[in-house]
Symmetry: C2
Subunit: 159 residues, 2 copies
DNA sequence: TATTGTTATACTCTATAACTATA
DNA sequence: TATAGTTATAGAGTATAACAATA
């Protein structure tokens, strides 16, 4: 069975038989899966009127179980402080989070999930989990574990 | 050995012990690897003053070995016609591609690599291949094949 | 002086749709 | 009428840096 990457690899073999393009078989496929999954994930978030980053902010707060500062959030989610401020403000306006002024340091604040924010996240999270199960349908339990372990190996090496 | 996704999974287990978040172990890791690799790939392209899409356009023309129409290019690379026109014009201005008017259909044209364009692509491609070898360092031959095959299984199921 | 968080600015990239020329 | 390709417009998202308040 041939996929789109096999087709590309064949074209390269014809056009540049001198090159070893085997790495593309891995990197190219991972990029394509990521792109397809990204769209599918965003479609699920769309139904809750959340962007991927808005979901990530709410989810980070939810699983931490404690309020976090904007600085902690932008460092965790690898965004600039300015981009995080804008995102936070939009979520505040929609009533999903609140800023709580710090008592020790009057420059700082903590960002906390509101009750509607938690409900919004929990609903989106459930759909997200269901969605991921569909995305993984092609693989059985053992293959999922294999894939996770190979990716973990790459991650631990990259860091 | 624990990676960042293990940490997130542990947080979810504490905050929402009722949920099965195991799919995140696969999908989350794939997203992270993709994001890390994407940056590393773009860094290599940057050194040749090419964006990822500009590289893709030149590479598509190179491995096809024949001129392609803008329509074929935007369908292959999944961009809008407008976005493709803009990209093509920039590459024409830099002398990497040329538009050849069609003789049969005067609305249409073919996009062809110039000699400098081919040299630019070949240089960027060599660096890209070297770069991918580094990205895959963590995995041996057999593991790379396993990873490619698992991803291919996902791809064939998604299509 | 340094740091926290916000705001203003400018930039990149895109899709959409209007548009021209041709089929 | 439909199609190929271009152009104009507007929108989303970002990083950067200027900024105000506080440490």
């Amino acid at each position: 069975m041939q996929d789109s990457v096999d087709h590309i690899l064949r074209q390269w073999r014809d056009a540049r038989p001198d090159l070893d393009c085997s790495a593309m078989g891995v990197v190219g496929r991972l990029g394509r899966v990521s792109s397809i999954w990204r769209k599918q994930i965003d479609t699920a978030f769309d139904q809750h009127e959340l962007s991927g980053i808005e979901f990530d902010i709410l989810a980070t707060l939810r699983r931490s179980q404690v309020p976090l500062t904007p600085t902690e959030l932008y460092q965790t989610l690898m965004l600039s402080s300015g981009a995080m401020s804008t995102r936070i403000e939009k979520l505040v306006q929609r009533g999903f989070i609140e800023r709580i002024a710090s008592e020790d340091d009057r420059r700082s604040c903590k960002v906390m999930l509101t009750e509607p924010g938690q409900q919004k996240l929990d609903a989106a999270l459930q759909d997200h989990l269901d969605n991921m199960e569909v995305m993984l349908e092609a693989l059985n339990k053992d293959e999922r574990l294999q894939l996770a372990n190979l990716l973990k190996k790459v991650l631990l090496h990259s860091r």
